[in-house]
Symmetry: none
DNA sequence: AATGAATGAGTCTTCATTCAT
DNA sequence: GATGAATGAAGACTCATTCAT
């Protein structure tokens, strides 16, 4: 589990040597490939070999960077969750006006609908966690961190919205999450029933309704 | 692929003999077991052996009744979809009053939330269809039938509802489906975040909102 | 871990059906193959596939009868240990005369030298136990039983022998064991240095010396 | 295959430069690590990486000094055999009195019992040679040299001993070897059965008996 | 010379499916 | 129809070895 920080910029350590650079590049390629393959095939059906090949490497490269398929899955989740949090933070940074923030959030929310991979990943993760948490306590910590990220933690202070009078902030977030994942899945499953425009349209309406 | 129809009721054939009855019993036990196991473990991770054992039989009984794991999965989907359609039909049979029908539908909808297995099954099916439709054309027909069932086809004439002025009937059905599956999953995944009461509560509110 | 008892002879249960018979046959073939392969290649280098092939089966048959290579190894040890104890018991059954018993034991001991596989198996087992006992406590019970068998437990009452005045019975048994295994290995390793006759000759002399 | 000879002492070559010294140090560290790891885990289960790590280096250092795991194993055998021969030679150098030589040899023999690693190494080597000599003719020469060393070649002229009247010198050496290796293994395998004192005690008695 | 990332052959193990009974 | 032994394809993982640095 890594958070990539440019330590050089902080003057803390020497520049990474060629080896480390190569490792990091490979790792990122594997994570990129994993995102595509996990989103496409699901956790269970994804084969290490496919992920490695998708990254342009052999199985060995995978095992040099991760211990198990599960490890990669969790690392990917953390990476993507961090990335999304970062993006949302960047989008609303410095905006104090509530209305303006809401507009940015709406943009971010609707934009997420385009990112089919993220939606599929969170869905896979919940199914995975649901089915494996019983078995292994060791996932608890990782789960907790990812769960936090998934909750769109930053989307706070929505609670004076229309439904906010009756619904708790948590409920709004749950509903927004569920609608995003569900509609993206529905769109993937049956594009005729839920075309891309309809997807965005519905998400927009529901966002407005829940945050109005 | 089987559709279970009571041919006797239709006067088409003679009553089944003991042998056929025994077969049918085994088949039903296998379907019941499959519902539990698929909902619990997901399609990929479900093992034929587990399903057979859950039904109190050996693998051989499975292969005497179904050809492949996929066959069982689709047969189960058809069975459950038929069952649900039947239940909904029974619930609203003979009720002409729109308000009354809506109350019954609401009851049925909220009652579905208790049936975690059905929600998980539809989720699994969509994921399965999404991932295999590309590969195999032979699933198309089966998919179509099941898809129809899943759409809660009978929940018609909702289109003069609040959102109906703006949302198409189809959209309402999609949203209701998505919310049901999504919230049931969320409840399973993190019962503290979405307790059972909250689950029913949210579904009720959203139903009212979408059909008001 | 099985002890094969003919329960039918005891009137306890019905004759095994065809399935059970087939299983038992396969199991015995696998154990026979395992004896040859483990003795030839050692535990580490023995491949499940080779053992299965040697038994005239596929890997699947192996996994239908044993859980892991280790399981097979331990089952084999127990089987062989039981067999040897039985043979020795049979050889000295009903013989009260100490001299006569000793002669029979000597015969049995020298005969063991021909059974290269048994010597190699005990050697492999000791190496295995030495290297894995630290890691897994679960082997303890199996080890204990096998250890007992390996100690030629029945070779008792040797303690009034020549060295017996000075050496404990246990020491005599240890020495006999060690000499058997060691000389068989030496004979296998370098047949020119220790030809078959020399092997028997040395074992006989040492037996006489230690039990005189 | 290397034999380490101090060529400088023989005036043959110039002193090694820094580079060469560094290499030699690494090589010796690897050999030391290999002794520990091979003795502990056995040849098959020993991993190059573990040996390198035990030596405080990476796998690269190993491959800079040896070609294969087998090469290292044989080099180690040769080194240790040479070392032992040297030690024995040193111990009996200049001693003409047969009785005195025997005492020194006895000391050396009993001292070997403390060196568990040497006993395990010779055992591993015999098993290895036994299992691979069939396959590869290229090992023959190396085997021959090591075999010679293992035979305690220097322990000559024992043949007027007690058993010597009947046993050939070769047989005595074989028995001493076998007893040493076998009892050390037994001691490692089951320290309660053969405690350290008993180990030395038995070896001493057998030495006396065979060389008396 | 040494590092360590990457390779890929080798092996264990699982499990859908077949088949003799 | 049902059993369960056996098959064998598939896939995760290990590790000796190679190679760019």
């Amino acid at each position: 589990m890594y958070i990539i920080v440019d330590m050089r910029a902080q003057g803390a350590i020497a520049a990474p040597n060629k080896h480390q650079q190569r490792t990091e590049v490979t790792r990122q390629k594997l994570l990129g490939a994993a995102l595509r393959v996990f989103a496409r095939d699901g956790f269970e059906a994804s084969r290490i070999e496919d992920i490695a090949a998708e990254a342009g490497h052999s199985r060995g490269a995978f095992y040099a960077n991760f211990n198990t398929k599960e490890d990669l899955f969790l690392a990917l989740l953390e990476q993507q969750a961090s990335k999304r949090i970062g993006e949302l933070q960047a989008a609303i940074a410095g905006i104090d006006n509530r209305k303006q923030r809401l507009i940015k959030m709406r943009q971010f929310y609707l934009g997420s609908a385009t990112n089919r991979q993220w939606a599929m990943l969170t869905l896979e993760f919940k199914l995975y966690a649901l089915r494996h948490s019983r078995k292994r306590a060791r996932l608890a910590a990782a789960h907790q961190r990812i769960r936090e990220s998934l909750h769109l933690e930053l989307m706070s202070h929505l609670n004076d919205s229309y439904l906010g009078r009756e619904l708790k902030e948590n409920a709004i977030k749950v509903l927004l999450e569920v609608l995003l994942t569900g509609l993206v899945l529905e769109h993937s499953y049956d594009p005729k029933r839920v075309p891309a425009e309809e997807l965005t349209n519905l998400l927009g309406r529901m966002f407005d309704f829940l945050t109005e």
